[in-house]
Symmetry: C2
Subunit: 493 residues, 2 copies
């Protein structure tokens, strides 16, 4: 892909770094799936050593990248390669080792304390660690540099080039629109808050067969993909030709298992459909976390929770889960699409989910900007929750302590979940210009949708930044109106 | 463990190399267990890149190791560490990159051709590759250097310090002794050649339960050990606290599954019981392949195929495998210990197995010494087979083409299988001085045997060379008479 000798040389030198990333991905996958529980210490050692080696190899590329950037006539692959390299090197060159060490230390200790604090619903236990973490993340932002607000530097780590000005343009109009849809849905009662199927226990072996049938329906490749089990489902890739998802089996409320499988498959399809020429480079990844999440949410919600998909899936459910016998497709649609304002983000439905993110985004921005003290968080959290979703947490375990992210230093990450929904809506609008999505799903032609996504997005990997990619695809960036119109069509029609 | 600053510095620098080995072990484990079948190309790339990184890091230790060797007052750990480093560095420093490349190329191509040749039973297809490989292995021996015979340089790679003079002292008396026992056993008919249980089909889920019960019987740790499935069972370790075996389920002749589990558990116990202070060094391994195989064979044959162990296992077999109902313990003993001269090494019983190895050892020695041409191999193989085991292969698939080893360049490896049996016999004799082994097994006190092995062998890891270790344990090295006396006691009593 590279004809420029300066870039080609860096691409060649990137190979061992790619190998370290690939091996690290397998080490991470194994840790969540098959690793014996008593092996975390040596596993941490191995992972840490590989990261140090990667860092050392990356630092050797600083000068070559700076030199290559000055050459002219670069093609898109070369520009994308240098863009990613610069973005990654930025962190390694600007953050002093002492700060990396402090972040890791406070992150590890804080996560241990957070688990205990959540169990006891005791925010004060966790408070000093979060205070320390916020202070370190502010230092990180200062070292990285930013225009405008320090939080921009943190969000850029997860969503390249994304700023609070972008975020405000998304979230400010999104919140009232969603609130309006939600109140109408709750008033109409067409999408009930609970469903008897939630409490029905299922047999794991039968549920595994259902998930395997879902993979067949989605035409997931048998030679380059696999599915395993973990507590928190995830997708990881060791290579374009080795992508793996996990799903979960809690034994009841089987929609959680179904939609974990579909969601993670959405991520996997993005990885699997990258141009093979991008292999062994950092371009064989999605353009950003938001772009990645747009694919998982598109498959999970827009495709997977559609009437047409549920109809395709229904015979499989009936054939494997005996308790389904007394329900029809419409019951299933309502069970899979129940709408219920709730306190816990990971249990939220498609409609209320974004409130949980908007709240976290607002709080993170204020924490990093120094506009709110950590000690104020619990009450501000609860007030916002009541304002957005209409219910108030009774304790901090149901509120500010529910997520693991902050304890480990993942500040600036949450927004990407909602960006996934927003970009997913943009895809829905865009794809409808080329095909009738519902008809295509109804005919079971999911391969046609995969093909479209490959040609328009997946094959490019990370060649274009998330903003460039959206401009190419949609002529605009992060526009929330398409998510709103999709939700209105679905919930208010 | 290291008080000498020169050694301590190398131990510290070895950490990333250890991490590469640990990650590589996981990559290898995954390849045989869960990796999607279409991912072998990127997997080969990752493994290759990690090996190059390891080589580069190792080369930086050449001078420090040479310097540290000149210091005095080293403790056993330090001496062992430097011994292993020197042994490993010897290969990296003496073998030119071009030869490593040629060996890898001919090995990869040769293995592909060998598979096809074995399928067609066509030795001529494979002949040019084997000729090239033998020529390269001769070059390797010349580069490594040796005293006496070039084959010594090759055997030393797998069994440190082991020479043809040692091997001849083992195999020359072993062959006639085994032949004498075999002819008596065949004449007596007490250990029948076939058993009706061989052809009984089993349910895999039931067999998995049997194997899990075997792990419980052997008290394998649940937090630092696991068992999976692969075509060819193996043991691997990512760390002292992360050791994994695989077993196999062919659906019939269930003893193959039982004894794969016991055999690999024997290897695993050796790894798991290393002194934790050896972690993150190359000493957290067995002393040699022969020493390692002594542990697997000791557990598989001497413990696992004893009447007492079979008695312990019998209720589990009866409880899980319905077809066992019509057999008693004595039937099981005979089925598990059937003696049948056969053509295929991997199917051979405890008594005839060593003939397969002696034959391969003789042929390898002659090939590397230039005393036999590759073209003569098939007929010489068949003649020796007839002389040792009394039957003649009808084609080369049953003869010279049966093993994968030579195609990939594993010449000098086979002997270690029999050394495992020989050293296993030495352990049997030695342990009997401290406890009555049969009584201990009968009481189900397998933990006592594991404890003895830990104190006498396992905890030392690779601190001592295989010869030193044997001298410490037995006051002698590779003495085959204890294997012979064990087999006489078992088969002729």
């Amino acid at each position: 892909m590279s004809t420029n000798p300066a870039v080609a040389e860096i691409v060649a030198k990137y190979k061992p770094i790619w190998a370290i990333d690939s091996a690290s991905a397998l080490l991470g996958w194994d840790m969540e799936t098959y690793m014996p529980p008593g092996s975390s210490e040596p596993r941490g050692f191995t992972t840490g050593q590989l990261q140090l080696m990667k860092q050392e190899l990356m630092m050797k590329l600083v000068d070559p990248v700076a030199k290559a950037e000055k050459t002219t006539g670069l093609n898109d692959f070369e520009k994308g390669f240098l863009r990613i390299m610069k973005h990654d090197l930025n962190y390694f060159t600007k953050i002093p080792p002492k700060l990396i060490e402090d972040l890791a230390k406070v992150g590890t200790e804080g996560t241990v304390v957070w688990r205990e604090a959540r169990k006891k619903s005791d925010f004060n236990m966790f408070k000093p660690y979060l205070e320390k973490m916020v202070e370190l993340k502010r230092q990180e932002a200062e070292k990285l540099g930013y225009v405008g607000h320090p939080y921009n530097a943190l969000m850029d780590r997860f969503e390249e080039g994304f700023t609070i000005s972008d975020a405000d343009k998304v979230f400010t109009p999104l919140a009232p629109s969603l609130k309006s849809i939600l109140s109408k849905v709750l008033a109409a009662g067409k999408f009930p808050a609970t469903h008897p199927l939630e409490s029905v226990k299922y047999d794991e072996a039968a549920m595994i067969r259902v998930n395997q049938a879902i993979l067949k329906l989605l035409d997931m490749p048998e030679k380059t993909f696999r599915m395993d089990v973990s507590t928190h489902p995830f997708t990881t890739g060791m290579a374009i030709d080795d992508v793996r998802i996990t799903t979960r089996y809690e034994g009841e409320d089987f929609k959680a298992s179904v939609y974990s499988t579909v969601h993670e498959s959405g991520h996997a399809i993005y990885q699997l459909q990258a141009d093979p020429a991008l292999e062994y480079t950092p371009l064989a990844n999605g353009a950003s976390l938001g772009m990645h999440e747009s694919q998982s949410r598109f498959w999970e919600n827009i495709v997977g929770r559609s009437r047409e998909f549920i109809k395709l899936l229904f015979p499989t459910l009936k054939g494997n889960l005996s308790f389904v016998a007394k329900y029809n497709e419409e019951d299933m649609y309502r069970y899979f699409n129940s709408v219920k304002p709730s306190l816990i983000r990971v249990e939220a439905d498609e409609l209320t989910y974004n409130f949980h993110i908007i709240l976290r985004y607002e709080l993170e921005k204020k924490m990093i900007g120094g506009d709110i003290e950590v000690s104020e968080l619990p009450s501000v959290w609860n007030d916002m929750m009541e304002r957005y979703v209409g219910i108030r947490p009774e304790n901090d375990a149901q509120g500010v302590l529910q997520d693991v992210h902050w304890s480990g230093g993942l500040i600036g990450y949450f927004a990407t979940y909602s960006l996934g929904n927003v970009i997913g809506g943009m895809f829905y609008n865009r794809i409808e210009q080329d095909m009738n999505l519902k008809d295509t799903i109804a005919k079971g032609e999911l391969g046609k949708i995969k093909g479209w996504l490959k040609e328009h997005l997946h094959k490019y990997g990370a060649v274009y930044s998330p903003k460039e990619m959206q401009t190419r695809l949609f002529g605009e960036q992060y526009n929330p109106k398409w998510l709103v119109s999709y939700l209105e069509e679905k919930y208010l029609a």
